[in-house]
Amino acid sequence: MLLIPCPFCGPRNESEFAHGGPVRARRPDPDAVSDAAWVEYLTVTPNPQGPVQEHWWHVRGCGTWLTLWRDTTSHDIVKGPDDA
């Protein structure tokens, strides 16, 4: 179970949140990249071993979207939202 630091509510149980996926690079211009690069962007989710920056939505709490760093090997939150 994760205790996620919400900037508004403070530390809250993971079950109050919805995972919003990893923070990704900006969407490329589909007309300016190859088909392979566009398909890669659309279908391949970054899944590094170690810290990954993720979006979380406090959907059962205050409604805030936040961004934090979670280590995929230890499940630890290594860096919370800047204002939490």
């Binding site: 508004f8 079950s15 109050e16 059962r60 205050c62």
Partner: protein, 165 residues
């Protein structure tokens, strides 16, 4: 084991959802609101009205249902400036009062929030989850109030009944 708890579904309250910058909300409707709660997830009361600070730039105004129409006229949601939102939501939430000696134990089954008085004091109010449902929890005399979306009311009642036995 039976818990020494009474669970009672409360009647309707007049509820208004207020969103927007604090200065704009107070500029438009400040005369009709209790003071702004000092902290996130806390409430203030004045003259039978309660104001819940439940999210960033998000407040909930609650009062008796008899005052609903007059308060809506006073708040003037249709004419409010575009940077704020005032919406009557009285019918969208069902409140339950969970009171009695073991109220904290039943609420500990229901929701993951730390409800110890040192953390969740008399003026605390927060959205969280109760039995997996999105819920708003606050203290009341002798226990807690828990509000869920109206359509989940029967489910919540069922969950509470099961928790009590």
């Amino acid at each position: 084991m039976r818990y020494d708890v009474t669970c009672k579904q409360a009647g309707l309250s007049a509820l208004f959802d207020l969103k927007g910058p604090q200065a704009d909300l107070w500029g438009w409707a400040g005369d009709h609101l209790p003071p702004m709660p000092a902290r996130p997830n806390s409430l203030t009361r004045r003259g039978g009205r309660s104001l819940y600070h439940i999210g960033p730039r998000h407040l909930l105004l609650r009062t008796g249902i008899a005052e609903e129409e007059a308060l809506e006229r006073a708040l003037g949601p249709a004419a409010a400036p575009p940077q704020i939102s005032i919406v009557r939501i009285s019918d969208t939430l069902t409140f339950f009062a969970v009171t009695g000696r073991d109220a904290d134990q039943v609420m500990a089954i229901a929701c993951p929030l730390d409800l110890h008085p040192a953390v969740f004091g008399a003026d605390a109010v927060s959205h969280t989850e109760a039995f997996g449902l999105k819920a708003m929890v606050l203290r009341c005399e002798g226990g807690f109030e828990c509000a869920v979306e109206q359509s989940h009311g029967d489910m919540m009642q069922d969950y509470l009944n099961r928790a009590l036995t």
